[in-house]
Amino acid sequence: MSPAAATNLGYTPPDGGWGWAVVFASFISIGFSYAFPKSLTIYFKEIQEYFSVSYSQIAWVSSVMLASMYAGGPVSSILVNRYGSRPVVMVGGVMVSAAMVLASFGTTIVHLYLCIGVIGGLGLAFNLQPALTIIGTYFQVKRPLANGLAMAGSPVLLFTLAPLNQFLFDSFGWRGSFLILGSIVLNCCVAGSLMRPVNKHAPKTAPSKCNGAATEEAAAAEASAPSDNLLTEENQKESKGQSCVQRFIDPTLFRHRGFLIYLIGNVVMFFGFFAPVVFLAPYAKHLGIDEYSAAFLLSIFALVDMFVRPATGLIGNTKWIRPRIQYFFSFAVSYNGVCHLLCPLASGYWGLVAYAVFFGVAFGMVCALLFEVLMDLVGAHRFSSAVGLVTIIECAPVLLGPPMSGALVDIFGEYKYLYYACGVLMLVPGIFFFIMNYYNYKKLDEEQRQREAVDMRTCEEAVQLKMSQDDKTAHETDG
C-alpha cells in the first residue's frame, strides 16, 4: 500500500460484500453524470428549429449544464461531509428528474437554460461527488478496481443512452422524450438508496504497533494499549481541529503537497483532454471519410474505453503497481500526449481506426485512475472536499478547452495543429507528474520512516514501563 494518508480511517473498510452493490450504484450515478449531457445533443437540432435559434445558442444548454455540474462540486462536497452520500444522491436524482420534466413544458430557450442547464447540472453534481466519495469509504485494498469499475459507467451509459434517445425522439418528439428521460434519470435515486453508509464499528484488524515487544497475547495487548492511547489522543486532537472546518470544506488541502501537484497537473491537462474526442468525427470528415464511418470511429473509441477502465483498475490493484500508482497515472497522461502527437501521421481510414483504438486505451486509463490517485494522495477522509475543490477549479479548462481548440482549427484551417497542441498539453503535465511524484514519494517515505522511528521509541518506553511495574509488584509481593 502507498505510504500516503491511507490508514488513518479509524476503521477497516469492508473491501467487498455490500461494497460491490455500492460500486454498482456508483456505476449508475457516475454514468448518468457524464453521459447524460452528451446524450442530450441528439435533440438539439429539432429544438433549434422549434425555437428558431442559432446553433451556438442551443449549444449553450450543454455548456451551462457542464458548468453547473463542475461548479456545483464544492456545494456537493459540503453536503456530503455533513449528511453522507445517500441523501445527497437521492436529492440529486430528484433534481435532475424535476429539471427534465419542467423542461418538457418549456416555451422558450431560456427555460431550457434554467431547467436543464442550471438545475439539471446541479443535480448531476450531487450525483457525481458522493458516488466517488463512497467508494473510498468502502474499499481500501481493492480500491483501484472498484474505481475502475465505477468509472466504466460513463461509456456504458453513453452507449445505451445514445440509441435510446434516438428511439424516444422518433416515437415521442422532444417534449415527450424529456418527460420520459426525467423518469429514467430518477433511477439515480435507486442508486442512492443502495449507498448505505459504511459500518464504522467493525473492529480494527490492523496489526498492533509494537510487533516484537512481547510473546504473550496479553502482554502484547497491554503493551500496545499505551501506544494505542497515544495514537487515539493524537487522532482526537486532529479530529477536533478538523471537525469545524471539515463540516464545510477543507481549505488546508491547499497546503497538501500531493493535492497541489494533482491540481496543477490536472488544470493544464484538461485543456487538451476533451478536445480530441469532440473533434474526432469532424477531423475524419475533413479527411474525406463519410459521416457514418466517422461516427463509427467514435463508437470504436467508446467501446475500447468501456473495457479499458475496469482493466486499468485491475492492473492498478496489482502489488507491483498499487504502491506506486502515481507513476501509472503519469504514464497514462504522457501516453495520451504521445497518441495525439502521432495522430497527424495517421493516414486514411485504417490509420484513424488505429488512432481511435490507442486513444480509447489512453482515455480510459486516465479516466479510471483520475479519482483513484486523488484518493491515494489525500486519503478517504478528505477526499470529498478535495474532489469538490478540484472540480470547480477544473471547470475553466474543461469549458474553455474545446472552443480554444476549435479556434486553432479555424485559424490554421488544419487539424494537425490542434493535435500537436493537445499532445503537448498532455505530455507536459505527464512529465510534470512523473518528476513531482518521484519527489513526493521520496518525501512520504522519509516521513513514514520518521513516524515508524517515533512509534518504536514509544513502544519500547511503554514495554520498559510495563516491565518495571511488573518488577515492582513482584518485589512487593515477595517482600
Binding site: G176, I180, L186, R196
Partner: protein, 273 residues
C-alpha cells in the same frame, strides 16, 4: 461639311472593323431541354486573338477535367447522364485576352424531395412539413395537396388559420396549426412546377396524443418507487441482525468475527485436552 463626312466615314469604318473582329461563339445546341444525354460544343469564330486554352464551368465552378491548353477554337463537353444534379448553366470559356465565354442552359424537370417522409406532430401543437427542390430551373410554383379517400384536395394559403405555406424557389414549408388526431392524420403531397413540368413527393403525418409519453413516464416512476422501497425494507430488516453481530464481536476485543471466535475456542479446548 466635308469634315463631318470624313469623321462619320471614319467612325463607320471603325464600327464595322469592330463588328468584323468581335469574337463570336457559336454554341450547339443553344439549350438542352429535358434530354438524358447531350454533347455541348462551342465554336469560336471571327477572332484573331491567340487562344491559350479552354475550359468549361458548371454553375460558376470550373470542371477540372474540361481544362485544356489546346489552342483550337473549338471545345466540346459530353454529358452522359443528365440528372437534376448535372443541370444548370454551363459556360464554355476560351482563354484569350480578354476571355470570351458563352452560356448553354441545361434544363430538366424539377427534382422535389421531402426532408422527411414521415413527420410527427403533437396534438394541439403545430406540425411542420418541408419539401426541397434541386436542379435547374428551380420551381416557380409550389402547391400542397391533402390526400383524402383517394382524392387530392389542394391546400390554399390564407383561407384559414390552420394552414400556412411559405415558399421559396428551392424550399416550401407547410405549417398546420392546432393538430387534431381525427382530421389531420394522413398523406400530404408537395408539388413543384417549373417551365418544363411538375414533380412531387409525399409526406405522411402522424399526430401523437398529448398523453402518449405520460404512460411510460408513470410506469418508470412506479418502478423506481418500488425498487427504492424494497431496498429500504431489506436494509431495515438486516439492521437488527447487524447490530447483534457488532455486540458479539465487540465483546472479544482481538477477534474479528464471531465465527472465528468459536473456532479458536474449540481449538484451545482441544489443545488443552
Amino acid at each position: 461639311m466635308k469634315l463631318l463626312w470624313a469623321v462619320s466615314a471614319l467612325l463607320l469604318c471603325c464600327w464595322r472593323a469592330d463588328a468584323s473582329t468581335a469574337p463570336n461563339i457559336i454554341t450547339d445546341p443553344v439549350e438542352v431541354i429535358n434530354q438524358t444525354t447531350a454533347i455541348l460544343s462551342c465554336n469560336l469564330t471571327e477572332s484573331s486573338l491567340p487562344i491559350k486554352g479552354s475550359q468549361w464551368l458548371h454553375n460558376g465552378k470550373v470542371i477540372e477535367s474540361s481544362k485544356s491548353t489546346d489552342s483550337a477554337p473549338f471545345t466540346v463537353l459530353r454529358l452522359d447522364k443528365i440528372t437534376y444534379s448535372s443541370s444548370g448553366q454551363y459556360e464554355c470559356v476560351f482563354l484569350t485576352e480578354p476571355e470570351v465565354k458563352q452560356t448553354i442552359e441545361v434544363k430538366t424537370l424539377p427534382h422535389v424531395a421531402a426532408y422527411k417522409h414521415s413527420e410527427h406532430g403533437n396534438e394541439k401543437d403545430k406540425g411542420v412539413m418541408v419539401c426541397v427542390s434541386h436542379g435547374y430551373p428551380l420551381p416557380t410554383d409550389w402547391t400542397w395537396f391533402k390526400e383524402e379517400d383517394g382524392a387530392s384536395t389542394p391546400i390554399i394559403n390564407g383561407t384559414s388559420d390552420k394552414y400556412e405555406i411559405k415558399s421559396t424557389p428551392n424550399k416550401t414549408i407547410l405549417t398546420i396549426n392546432d393538430l387534431s388526431i381525427e382530421n389531420d392524420i394522413g398523406d400530404y403531397m408537395c408539388s413543384g412546377t417549373n417551365e418544363l413540368g411538375t414533380a412531387s413527393d409525399k409526406i405522411h403525418l402522424r399526430v401523437r396524443s398529448r398523453l402518449a409519453a405520460l404512460w411510460p413516464f408513470l410506469g418508470i416512476v412506479a418502478e423506481v418507487i418500488i425498487l427504492v422501497t424494497i431496498i429500504f425494507i431489506y436494509e431495515k430488516r438486516r439492521k437488527p441482525d447487524e447490530v447483534n453481530d457488532d455486540d458479539d464481536s465487540g465483546s472479544a476485543p482481538l477477534k474479528s468475527n464471531s465465527n472465528a471466535n468459536h473456532k479458536d475456542k474449540n481449538v484451545r479446548q482441544r489443545n488443552s485436552n
